[in-house]
């Protein structure tokens, strides 16, 4: 059963579609290399942020002043659940031939993602309303850059989801669309991993310091 062998990280479609599975190896590995370089970007922004929290506040608000733990908890719940629902979409992709189920899970994921973006946009607006704008201090610049970068990634993931949904409607579950959804799954799960670092070291560390 060479077709069932695991060829790449992420959900392997294996015997469900052996030909797509064979093609997936190099494509998925290439995407992993991109994801890892993306992770480096986030890590450096986080390092900059952590340096700025200590001596970059310029007399302005400190991390403890601007941390809203309740909002962070709801955002975390939304993003974590959306990671799980994307997992369900991946299972539908692998084991079910009906695209309806796949559409439904992708739609749930997209709604959770939209909810996350909406809440975070409200957080940003609230901060800006209190005068805590990026140009106030180095700390706030780092704060908005780091969270804004993650925000943009999630927004890009949602746009990508819309594109594959259209392709799914037009062409059905063809090989190229399958491989795109599999890469989108990796991207989406990775954004949740980045969020773990953000809620731990930005929100929780900010409130606990």
């Amino acid at each position: 059963m060479s077709a069932a062998k695991l060829l790449h990280p992420g959900l392997n479609i294996g015997s469900a579609d052996p030909e797509a599975h064979r093609q997936a190896g190099p494509v998925m590995f290439g995407f992993w290399v991109f994801l890892m370089s993306d992770l480096v970007l986030f890590a450096l922004l986080l390092a900059t942020y952590s340096a700025m929290t200590r001596h970059g506040t310029a007399g302005g608000p400190t991390p403890a002043d601007i941390t809203d733990l309740k909002s962070a908890a709801i955002e975390t719940a939304l993003l974590l659940t959306s990671s799980f629902t994307f997992g369900m979409a991946s299972l539908a992709l692998k084991y079910r031939e009906d695209t309806g189920r796949l559409f439904a899970w992708l739609a749930v994921t997209a709604l959770l993602g939209l909810g996350f973006l909406g809440l975070e946009a409200m957080d940003f607006a609230k901060l800006a309303g209190e005068g805590a704008v990026p140009q106030r201090s180095g700390f706030l610049s780092a704060h908005f850059t780091l969270l804004g970068m993650h925000f943009l990634h999630v927004a890009a993931g949602l746009a990508w989801m819309a594109v594959v949904a259209v392709q799914l409607a037009m062409w059905g579950l063809c090989r190229a669309v399958r491989l795109r959804i599999m890469r989108l799954a990796l991207f989406w799960h990775m954004l949740d991993i980045v969020w773990i670092a953000l809620f731990s070291f930005v929100f929780l560390a900010g409130a606990g310091s």
Partner: protein
């Protein structure tokens, strides 16, 4: 094309559920630690770091299906190498800024 194997599906479904439940527990532990002020402030970063690392491992294992199997070795090495790079860059940045802070 559709050689659907219900056992495989059950196994993979269970993997996602285990991952989701453990991730919820670890997240709740992190928020609880801070919300209820369970640890002294000197320990906050250490505890948060530990919980975050554990949760990242859970996500990689159960959502991204990275494990110690031979066929995943390349990818695991890629991730671990990225980990080393991150450690060097983030650790180095923090080290330098602490040192600079001490001199000012």
């Amino acid at each position: 094309m559709s050689t659907n194997n219900p056992r495989d599906m059950q196994r993979e479904l269970r993997s996602y559920v285990i991952g989701f439940v453990s991730a919820i527990l670890l997240t709740a532990a992190a928020f609880g630690t801070i919300g209820l002020r369970l640890v002294p402030s000197g320990w906050v970063l250490l505890v948060l770091g530990g919980l975050a690392l554990a949760q990242m491992v859970v996500h990689f294992r159960y959502f991204l299906h990275i494990d110690l199997k031979k066929s995943h070795r390349d990818d695991l090495q890629l991730i671990l190498f990225t980990g080393v790079i991150l450690l060097l860059m983030v650790g180095g940045t923090i080290w330098i800024s602490i040192s600079q802070h001490a001199r000012m």
